[in-house]
Symmetry: C2
Subunit: 402 residues, 2 copies
């Protein structure tokens, strides 16, 4: 079997942890598998490097910042190769440019264009574990780039896709994907399997186990993922297309996102093009919106409200206020004390009553709903942040504990 | 003018020092020069990285160790590029592989094979200061290598040679090359100029300003070097082929090497092939010898004694003892309390009396001479280490202060 294993920064933070990771890799190798490993930078290395750059320049040149940052993963892979060799496992470390991991030139958030598997295959054929630096690539000019958030996961999935790996294991500090965040819901259950679509919804809902980008890539290339713990040695959660237990499960999980805000424009003229004029302003500012609700207001006007990342709220407000005349609205109101609660399940569309169960649980917990949004595999509600944890507990009890 | 500037690790140890270095670079650039900069790793970075490796493995794989170590220079050049940009000077950092600095595959002590100037020239043409990572290269396989001791100096000289630079400035923590080590001889004088050959002898004699390897390369390609201080802004010492003041100076400098030992084989048969048998044993162990003296012993035998690095003494002794029968000698004696004192001067061969002056000074200082060796531009004597500093002072007084 060909396995790609990815370990995050906290898993390789020091020599002892690196040895533990090397032990996990060695086990997979000794079981007869070909193993490719993708590592992040050790512990706080990336933050330390950024701090070093900021000592020099408040806004460092992005190309040079990437040149600086890619050293972090380079350190991890070379040390881990040594740890494996020390255990008698042949190993070799390779940088992004050495596996021709080509990206565009968006320094700091580059997108993968292509990947050359020749060198990796050669080293595997010689019986070596191949360690590839995560998070980094090289652009057409031959300059170092970094992939931005979720970069190392994305590197692992891209390699797994291109090498036709049988499995891509993402080792983290949790044991898998849960029906809800175990820090909030102690009774949360680990899922054995989940579909890509469910995982995508959960990731974007703030489940924070896997970055969306890597899940999207895995879905596109049919790479089977497994999320598992680098501390507790037991099976994690498989993320793949068809889940055997789909018919039995109504929903897979519940997620909560607190980092959002709601913005409402009140008293808009009821004429075509209004929504376009609003969201063009936001697109220009590169602000993403999530839930959008349009309702009928008083006196032949309408209201449009939407949610966005809380960190974008002030920029969005400023941009829309500046465009008040061009858009034509009476009032702008904001609420940054809202949270989004979502239930996600691939089986949902075929089941009646999920929404009813959700609303029943929320009503019983005295939680008021501001907005509702549905998709094929999820239902999201916008509620007050102060009630979000209680709401989550109530909904989890309803779906998983009754 | 095209100038290559090289700064060592202590000159770029932190943000404040990097800014100072950026100031020196900016000055050269603003004066209308094209500037290429080669940097070493910051302060103790290289040692820290080696320590990290040793935490994992007592004898780390050399390829992986090089993969680890090259990150040090990468950090320096990217930070320095940011510092220059912060001053409004366009700058770009480039790694060894990005300038196609090809080496052989002797990890840890690789030799430069070739260098591609295309990328450097492109960036210079765009008005940028080009910062190149010192100490590192890439082998035919596309793997990272390091150049070993004196590596960054060698990188700088290699680039200066290939780019036909007008000058290669080596910035250090001393103001230039002195007639003797100023820490021992407070009256030592800074030289304005010195020839490559003199510099080579002084470097190998322990003057420790420039590594031999970079001086040899500079000599071969006619690269004019300047050794100068990154703290005191004044002209340093130029190292070049023809020195204007050659006829006036008898010697350029005095150097002392304490890190040596003497080994003597007594009672060798007086027959052909003896020396070959001895030094073949040492060559197999990769032990370099320096001065060699052969003298006639008692009863038709001969003695051979030689000096070597003190750190190699035990290995040499063991190898020669093991080969006692094959070589055929009576006794082996060692002395690790010896030092080598050398006077160096390109004009020496044409001048009578240098040796006489040297011996006179040593006799007056009551220093006994164990061995004498001469070359076209130097005279070296082996003396007791306990007398070495006094000897150096006496000789310096004789040649430079009377």
């Amino acid at each position: 079997m060909l396995i790609v294993q990815k370990f995050g920064g906290s898993s390789v933070a020091d020599a002892a942890k690196l040895r533990r990771v090397a032990g996990i890799i060695a086990e997979a190798k000794k079981a007869g598998n070909d193993v490719i490993v993708v590592l992040s930078a050790q512990g706080d290395t990336t933050d330390d490097l950024i701090a070093k750059a900021h000592e020099i320049s408040p806004e460092p040149n992005r190309r040079e910042l990437d040149m600086l940052m890619v050293t972090g993963e380079q350190i991890s892979i070379s040390l881990c190769a040594m740890a494996l060799q020390e255990m008698g496992i042949p190993a070799i470390s390779l940088l992004g440019w050495q596996v021709r991991l080509r990206t565009n030139s968006e320094y700091g958030s580059a997108r993968i264009r292509s990947l050359d598997t020749e060198r990796i295959q050669q080293e595997l054929d010689q019986g070596k574990v191949v360690l590839v630096a995560g998070f980094q690539g090289v652009n057409r000019r031959g300059d170092m780039t970094t992939l931005g958030r979720g970069g190392s996961d994305t590197t692992a999935v891209a390699i797994a896709a291109k090498m036709h790996a049988d499995l891509c294991q993402i080792y983290t500090d949790v044991e898998g994907v849960y029906t809800a965040d175990p820090r909030i819901i102690p009774n949360a259950k680990k899922l054995d399997e989940i579909t890509y679509a469910e995982m995508l919804e959960l990731a974007s809902m703030g489940a924070q186990v896997l970055h969306n980008r890597s899940v999207e890539l895995a879905k596109r290339y049919g790479v089977e993922l497994e999320v598992l713990s680098s501390y507790v040695r037991k099976p994690g959660t498989k993320v793949k297309e068809v889940v055997k237990t789909m018919e039995e499960t109504k929903i897979s999980g519940i997620a909560k996102d607190d980092k959002i805000a709601r913005l409402a424009l009140v008293g808009l003229k009821d004429e075509p093009g209004i929504a376009f004029r609003i969201f063009r302003v936001l697109a220009k500012e590169k602000i993403n919106v999530d839930l959008i609700l349009q309702s009928i207001g008083r006196d032949n006007t309408k209201d449009i409200s939407f949610t966005l990342a809380r960190e974008d709220l002030n920029r969005a407000k400023a941009a829309l206020e500046k465009a008040q005349d061009a858009i034509g609205y009476e009032n702008l109101t904001v609420n940054d004390q809202v949270s989004k609660l979502s239930v996600v399940g691939a089986g949902m569309i075929n089941k009646s009553g999920i929404a009813v169960m959700l609303f029943e649980a929320l009503a019983a917990a005295q939680v008021n709903i501001h907005m509702i949004s549905t998709s094929e595999i999820k239902i999201s509600v916008l509620i007050d942040s102060s009630k979000a944890e209680a709401a989550m507990r109530a909904v989890h009890r309803k779906f998983f504990e009754e």
